[in-house]
């Protein structure tokens, strides 16, 4: 068993409207970032977990997304896994 860091990204699906994204877009425009075309706001979740290997860690993270971390009706998710160096803080 070793320690892994799962980096989970959850983003609203394209067909779902994203009020926060629109608000941030307006905010950026108001601040003069006129080059911005579109913004979508989702969640990022860092999960430190024990697993036998990267594959197992990834599989478990996907289960976590399906059950809790994402609402797959309206959101899609991506999972990345990396090993944690002993003693490193998240």
């Amino acid at each position: 068993m070793s320690l892994w860091l799962g980096r989970v990204t959850v983003i609203p699906k394209p067909s779902v409207n994203d009020p926060q994204g629109l608000a941030v877009l307006d905010g950026l425009h108001a601040l003069g970032f006129s080059e911005v075309e579109q913004v979508r706001v989702g969640r990022h979740i860092d999960v430190r977990l024990d697993a036998e290997g990267a594959e197992e860690a990834e599989a478990r993270l996907c289960q976590m997304c399906e059950t809790l971390l994402a609402n797959t009706l309206i959101e899609s998710y991506e999972v990345q896994v990396q090993p944690v160096q002993e003693g490193a803080a998240v």
């Binding site: 067909s15 779902v16 409207n17 994203d18 009020p19 926060q20 608000a23 969640r43 809790l68 971390l69 609402n71 009706l73 309206i74």
Partner: protein
């Protein structure tokens, strides 16, 4: 008739539901702890408003796994009447007991105000005998009440009479202005196919006393008592 009101950690509308139900003839309200798997003989259930588990991650996302929810699902499957108010509605959609999802309000901010809703379909024990088209004045207070469902689901909802409430003006007309949180098709409340599960963002329990601004919300509880008395609800 026993009405069980579930307390999740972070629920804050539970006491309001209990106090309001005490005023409705024929209702005997009782609290049910979220870790309980015993519904204590309840004839109907309410999932109240609040911020279960802080509404962290997504509203209702963690509460859907509380031990009591398995019993709620079983109770609902047998036809028992279940009402989800505000956060309770969010829990029901997260748990998949009602269609759709509740997104952040269109203008992002938490919004507490008096609104009007129109009864679009009364196909529910919670609305039995309430004439369709009736306009009710109700309190709303939420940050994530922006109802979303895809086009196909919405078509089905309308066809099957599952849209219980729409935001409207005092005359009963829907418009962008009366749709304060940006819900699709101004939807303020929906039922499951059978009609026994109702989820709504407005607060009937806060709209049941004229001294506090409106007594219109009482019709839900009175309808429930009527339909239970008539034996119209299966268990």
């Amino acid at each position: 008739m026993k009405v069980g009101v579930v307390t999740f950690p972070g629920s804050n509308g539970d006491t309001d539901c209990i106090e309001t139900l005490k005023l409705v003839e024929g209702c005997e309200p009782q609290l049910i702890w979220h870790k309980s798997t015993d519904l204590m003989g309840a004839d109907a259930l309410i999932l109240p408003g609040g911020f279960a588990h802080g509404d962290y991650l997504r509203p209702g996302s963690i509460a859907q796994f509380s031990p009591v929810m398995r019993e709620v699902a079983r109770f609902a499957a047998s036809g028992g009447p279940v009402l989800g108010i505000c956060n309770g509605f969010q829990v029901l959609t997260e748990a998949g007991l009602l269609p759709g999802a509740l997104l952040r309000n269109q203008y992002i901010l938490f919004h507490c105000a008096w609104t009007h809703v129109r009864v679009s379909s009364n196909r529910s024990p919670w609305l039995e005998g309430v004439e369709e088209g009736t306009v009710l004045r109700m309190a709303v207070a939420h940050g994530q009440g922006n109802y979303f469902a895809d086009t196909e689901t919405r078509r089905r909802l309308v066809e099957q009479g599952q849209v219980a409430f729409e935001y409207c003006d005092p005359e009963g007309n829907t418009s962008g202005e009366s749709n304060h949180n940006g819900s699709v098709d101004s939807i303020a409340g929906v039922t499951n196919e059978a009609g026994n599960i109702l989820g709504m963002m407005p607060h009937p329990e806060r709209s049941s006393d004229p001294l506090l601004g409106s007594a219109d919300g009482r019709v839900l509880f009175e309808s429930l008592v009527r339909s239970m008395a008539a034996g119209a609800v299966g268990r």
